[in-house]
């Protein structure tokens, strides 16, 4: 879902990171959809070379995907024409780099975090470039350190945090008549709404490496004698993967060189989104239910992690024994008994089903996400429109269908007049859908029926959140700019009035930073999960 302020936010992120001109190209792509280079130069009025350079920057940072389509030229010859399409989500992920880094530093270590940071900063790198970069930072011994970097890199790839980059320009055969002309007109928004596969989706599919190849690495660890032990284990690790690829197997070290020097790697955002989604679900369950339920949920998510399940709506079904086994793996889970687990599963709303005489459980993740989304929207109702509106909105959102004014006022215990006023305001602000019914009899009656429009609300809230992030960032820039001298003050000078100002700006920064992170969590909740 890309909203108006979503686009503004993306453009402002790009402009902050890569400057105005790149932002101009990006904005053009966001507003007009997939374009060719000549279209871009026409719309942005930039010289062709400059536009091209901008596109290269965006491609390097995974914000644009290029693809070629065959087009019949005059006469009989066909020409391949390159199109550029923007990857909106990847732009917004730029807000979240610090979260991704935290995940890695918590799960792995500081060195892996640094490695990932390099990749995030540069967008795409070969292993060789990664190693050179790491070594330029580190002044110590070469080959030993190289192997450390290699090992860390393999760890990151094995955990799917890093993946091979997609093909830079896949070729798409034109497949249907109506699809080709849609390019350029179709905005990212309509592309998402479209039921059939859009050309952008086809391009993404064609570009992404096959599952087997995506996380395949061949590294030459163990060349150094001192690291022989690690080396052996690393090769083992890779052996299974290698077997799938006979061609690579024939010449291990040659393949390794190619892999290090030529293959481009990037951060796998999908995996990080999955991890964050897991965190959000667990924390929602913890605050709504209790620790036990969240431990069980985590355990079930851990047990079911596989590629197909990254975005699935349910966890995989597991037997009680399998769940218990997973639960006691974690430190907090060790104190739980089978009864605890059973009670927790009930709290999570799991209804077991029987297969082959065994009970299976699965958790409805989509439902947890929806509850979290509702909480966010309801909090808006409460804060902006008050208690009565909150109650009425919850009533409508629970029932899910059209309800008449009088019924709402009765059930929510709100005076009819007040109820009318609130419903009207909510409708005016786009949160409700209204229908009028006129009964024709001896006297005419008019009934008003109301309903929550979930899809519209999601879009509107998302748009407001993007607007709020933009405002937050602007205010932050203003506050920091105003006090930038103060921020540079050495410790001994932070006394008296200056000290107070320093204290204030420090607190301001902390508050704004944390609000930004929280708000971005909410944006992810509505757009990525």
């Amino acid at each position: 879902m890309v909203t108006q302020y979503g686009i503004k936010l993306a453009v402002s992120l790009i402009s902050a990171h890569f400057g105005e001109i790149v932002a101009k190209v990006c904005c053009c792509l966001l507003q007009k959809g997939t374009l060719t280079l000549s279209d871009i130069t026409r719309y942005t009025e930039l010289p062709s070379q400059q536009a091209k350079n901008c596109l290269l920057v965006l491609i390097q940072h995974n914000c644009v995907q290029a693809f070629a389509i065959a087009k019949e030229g005059f006469g009989m010859s066909t020409r391949a024409i390159t199109h550029y399409s923007v990857v909106y989500e990847n732009i917004l992920h730029r807000l979240r780099f610090s979260k991704f880094l935290t995940i890695v530093s918590e799960e792995l270590d500081k060195e892996c975090e640094e490695l990932l940071e390099g990749l995030l900063q540069h967008g795409r790198l070969t292993l060789e470039q990664i190693m050179l970069r790491a070594m330029s930072k580190q002044n110590e011994g070469t080959s030993v350190y190289q192997d450390v970097v290699r090992t860390n890199f393999v760890r990151l790839v094995n955990l799917r945090y890093v993946e091979r980059c997609p093909t830079s320009e896949p070729f798409l055969a034109p497949n249907s008549e109506e699809e080709a002309p849609s390019i350029g007109k179709r905005g990212p928004k309509s592309a998402k709404l479209g039921l059939s596969e859009t050309i952008e989706q086809r391009a993404m599919k064609a570009a992404s490496p096959s599952e087997a190849k995506r996380f395949l690495i061949v590294t030459d660890i163990g060349a150094n004698v001192t690291e022989a032990k690690t080396g052996a284990s690393m090769t083992n690790l890779m052996l299974g993967e290698k077997r799938k690829h006979k061609a690579l197997e024939t010449d291990g070290s040659g393949a390794a060189t190619i892999c290090e020097k030529e293959v481009l790697w990037r951060v796998n955002f999908e995996e990080f989104v999955y991890q964050l989604r897991k965190k959000v679900c667990a924390s929602n369950v913890r605050s709504r239910l209790d620790d036990g339920a969240s431990i069980i949920l985590n355990a079930m998510l851990d047990a079911t992690k596989s590629e197909e399940n990254l975005k699935s709506e349910n966890t995989v079904s597991l037997t009680m024994d399998a769940i218990f086994e997973e639960v006691i793996k974690s430190e907090d889970g060790r104190t739980m008994t089978l009864d605890h687990v059973r009670a927790g599963l009930t709290q999570l709303g799991c209804h077991p089903f029987i297969r082959d005489g065994e009970e299976y459980f699965s958790v409805d993740i989509k439902n947890i996400i929806e509850i979290a989304q509702n909480e966010e929207v309801e909090s808006i109702m409460l804060k902006r429109y008050g208690d009565d509106a909150y109650r009425m909105f919850r009533l409508l959102s629970k029932t899910g269908h059209l309800v008449e004014t009088e019924k709402i006022s009765d059930m929510a215990f709100v005076e009819r007049k007040t109820a009318c006023k609130i419903l009207y305001n909510l409708w005016k602000d786009g949160y409700l859908h209204m229908e009028k019914i006129i009964s024709h009899g001896s006297t005419q009656y008019q009934f008003l029926l109301w309903k929550v429009n979930k899809h519209l609300i999601k879009e509107q809230v998302l748009d407001e959140m993007c607007h709020a992030v933009l405002n937050l960032m602007q205010r932050m820039a203003y506050e920091l700019g105003k006090e930038h001298e103060i921020l540079k003050l050495p410790r001994e000078k932070r006394i008296g009035v200056l000290g107070k100002r320093f204290d204030r700006i420090r607190k301001v920064k902390i508050l704004l930073d944390s609000s930004l992170l929280k708000l971005d969590d909410a944006i992810m909740l509505f757009s990525c999960f």
Partner: protein, 204 residues
């Protein structure tokens, strides 16, 4: 008129239709009857503008007054609030309770003068659910639900962190509750840089 419409009362306009008397005469006679304490005036809960009359010995029906939660044609907010608080306290004490359980509890402890009907309590509990104060759960018949039949609808207090409801991410910053958000632009008259809500928020 006296004998008719015992529990529903009569609207002034209807009286006119039925008796075919002129306005001033009706008004006069109504006044006379009221002065002699033979009829009384009351209002309809959905139609407060109109005057209704009935003989003093009758009580208006729930369909006219709106029922137990109405007094003088409007919602009796104080009474509702009292019942709500009592229900909350009861659920807190019982940990998990069915509507019948709450009604029984009230009857036993004589919280209210009159007998408590579970139907009425149910209405209040539903608003507590809408208030997000209590939540609906199904009994498992085990543990804390012992004594409640399996599958019965029960109510539990909603868990709150530190006693306050969770604030959403958007509403915890000024823009989330700002009435001017649609007029706010980076370099307009209303802008984040000049925003007074922010200034207040960041006033440490």
């Amino acid at each position: 008129m006296h004998s008719k419409q015992e529990r529903y009362g009569d609207f002034q306009g209807d009286i006119k239709k039925e008796t075919s008397l002129i306005d001033s005469l009706i008004k006069k006679s109504l006044k006379f009857l009221q002065d002699h304490n033979l009829i009384k005036e009351f209002s309809h809960y959905q139609n407060k503008g109109k005057k209704y009359f009935m003989a003093v010995e009758f009580e208006p029906s729930a369909e006219v007054t709106g029922g137990a939660w109405y007094s003088n044609g409007s919602l009796d907010m104080d009474f509702i609030a009292t019942v709500k608080v009592s229900c909350l306290m009861c659920i807190k004490q019982l940990k998990v309770a069915t509507v019948e359980g709450i009604a029984e509890f009230f009857d036993k402890t004589h919280v209210f003068h009159n007998k408590c009907f579970s139907e009425k309590i149910g209405e209040i509990v539903q608003t507590l659910v809408l208030d997000n104060e209590v939540m609906e759960v199904k009994s498992t018949g085990m543990g804390e639900y012992a004594g409640i039949p399996f599958g019965a609808l029960c109510y539990k207090l909603v868990k709150k962190q530190g006693g306050v409801p969770r604030v959403g991410a958007l509403t915890s910053i000024p823009c989330g509750v700002c009435p001017r958000i649609h007029e706010c632009t980076p370099d307009g008259i209303i802008s984040p840089v000049t925003c007074v809500y922010y200034t207040k928020w960041l006033d440490f």
